[in-house]
């Protein structure tokens, strides 16, 4: 237990001081913000995937809705960055709340196919609804506005992302350690048994779906603020796949797994796409090899070694 605390403390200090050291190891502050944003999205997804046992291949939809919601608020209605982020987050969360009950009508592989298809629906809406979303070119014409007189440069914005990452992580941690979270894990382990005990498992899975969608939408809103841009690719199944591999790569049975996975994934992608045009092959190999050789993820792998 103490060892875990030491690791946690070191990680926290590292995250808090990113603007000081990240540049010296070849990174830049915006890249660190991207790691946190993807980590937040994958942790949100992991509530459903790793802790409730629901394999959604469509969570980019809620990420993208968060991005578009935040962007559209800033373009059309307000100059308040936080208000726009709140609106985007609620938009994505609401969509997940409404669509979850449809998706949970089926389980297993079927559930995955349905979530992919629902996600693609939003993708095509974003591409075709030109007047509002900017179509294939994406949504531009907004930028993050100062909060309480503080201009959000790279460093300030990184800390804003870190704060929201902390809020999201705390929300998920609290849920997982509550009776609700224990119910989620029990559904993952044996949903039939819970059904026999008189628990409406589909409602709980839908609730997990909605919460994880809400956290993804928060991450999406932050992503739009980071780039001052929302792209249809934010909604695409490719990004859903990236979130899944981030969770698996880090270790989906571990609370902090997605953070480790996001750090590896974002840094590898950033580095490889700078040195070769064939970066898609490398990312594809990351998918294939990690599934075959590291199904437990980095954290799961170390935990197993520790036990052995």
């Amino acid at each position: 237990m103490t060892r875990d605390r030491i690791v946690f403390a070191i990680s926290a200090v590292l995250l808090l001081t990113v603007p000081l050291w990240f540049g010296h190891v070849g990174g830049y502050t915006d890249l660190a913000a991207r790691v946190l944003i993807y980590a937040l999205a994958a942790m949100g997804l992991n509530l459903l995937l790793g802790f409730t046992g629901g394999l959604s291949f469509g969570h980019a939809a809620y990420f993208g809705l968060g991005a578009y919601g935040t962007g559209l608020m800033l373009v059309n209605y307000t100059h308040n960055t936080l208000l726009a982020l709140l609106a985007g987050t609620l938009l994505g969360g609401l969509a997940a709340l409404l669509l979850g009950p449809i998706a949970v009508r089926r389980r297993g592989i079927y559930f995955s196919m349905i979530t992919i298809a629902i996600g693609q629906m939003f993708y095509f809406i974003a591409v075709r609804w030109n007047d509002v979303t900017g179509g294939e070119d994406g949504l531009t014409g907004f930028s993050r506005q100062p909060i309480l007189g503080i201009t959000l440069g790279s460093t300030q914005f990184y800390y804003m992302v870190l704060i929201f990452f902390g809020v999201g992580a705390m929300l998920l941690w609290t849920i997982l350690n509550s009776p609700l979270g224990h119910t989620f894990v029990a559904i993952r382990e044996n949903h039939k048994r819970l059904t026999f005990l008189g628990i409406r498992t589909d409602r709980y899975v839908a609730l997990s779906f909605a919460i994880s969608g809400l956290v993804c939408a928060l991450a999406g809103g932050l992503n739009a603020l980071l780039d001052n841009f929302a792209s249809p690719d934010d909604l695409r199944y490719t990004l859903s796949g990236n979130f899944l591999i981030i969770a698996v790569l880090g270790g989906m049975r571990n609370f902090w797994g997605p953070l480790v996975g996001a750090a590896i994934f974002v840094l590898v992608e950033n580095y490889v796409s700078a040195v070769t045009q064939n970066w898609m092959t490398v990312i594809g190999l990351v998918f294939v090899l990690s599934v075959i050789f590291f199904p437990l993820g980095v954290l799961g792998f170390f935990r197993k070694v520790k036990k052995a």
């Binding site: 291949f57 449809i102 298809a117 629902i118 629906m121 092959t281 599934v291």
Partner: protein, 289 residues
Amino acid sequence: MLLDILFNAFNGLIVGSFYALMAIGLSLILGLNGVINFAHGGFMALAAYFAFTLVPYTGFWGALIIAPLLAGAVGYAVEQLIVRRLYLRDPLYSLLATFGLALIMQDLLRTIWGAQGLPLAIPDFLNQPVSQVYFFVTGYRLFVVALAILSTGTLFAVLRYTRLGVRIRAGNADLETIAALGVNIYLLRSANFVLGIMFAGLAGILAAGQLGLTPTMGDELIMPSFVAIVVGGVGSLLGSLLGGLIIGVAAGITTAFYPAASEVVIYLIMGITLIIRPRGLLGQEGLFE
């Protein structure tokens, strides 16, 4: 106006044939191998590019036969190297591995044949318009529909009347039992995977003749094929066929009225199906859950 609707409905029927061929291959693999093959679109494009390369040497007809076989051979290698390691594991892993495979295949296609679109030469007599009285239909479009019907008919006959077909159907019902009865299920699963890939290959060549070749051509067809399976009902090949045709025609008719919604309507049909008949048109209750 009526002609316009008919024209678009017929166009939709052709696109629906591509969806249906893709969905049937996916369904076959999902049924016996228990894997959602995300790389199906990659294999489809691969066969189309093989055909593109073969046409100067073998002509269109030779390519139509050889290219799916070559794609099937690649499929066999992939099954041996990667996919067979994923059987009986959580579907998460097969989804992610085949998704990664799709990325690799798309990237390799772009590296080898280039990112820009290429045309697939089709025989001149198929390019002639059949009728200009009502609306413009080339012989190729009729050919696509005919070949889709023929190949699915053949598949159903193989499944119904041959030993291999009986084993595939029995394996769908209970793989352990047929293994205990002495069927080599490893070989059976490989054969079934290759069969599914060859259907994707056929769809790819036919689609390339109509729409041309791009490395991402599989991307555009694989999602509607998933929807076709959900609408038609998981576990039913006939359902996949129907699902593909229905969403193709629906998208075509929507194009006549409101082109921007032609893609979204596919997903709306899926949503409605799930609400009023969750198991799909011809699906069995509780399969793969």
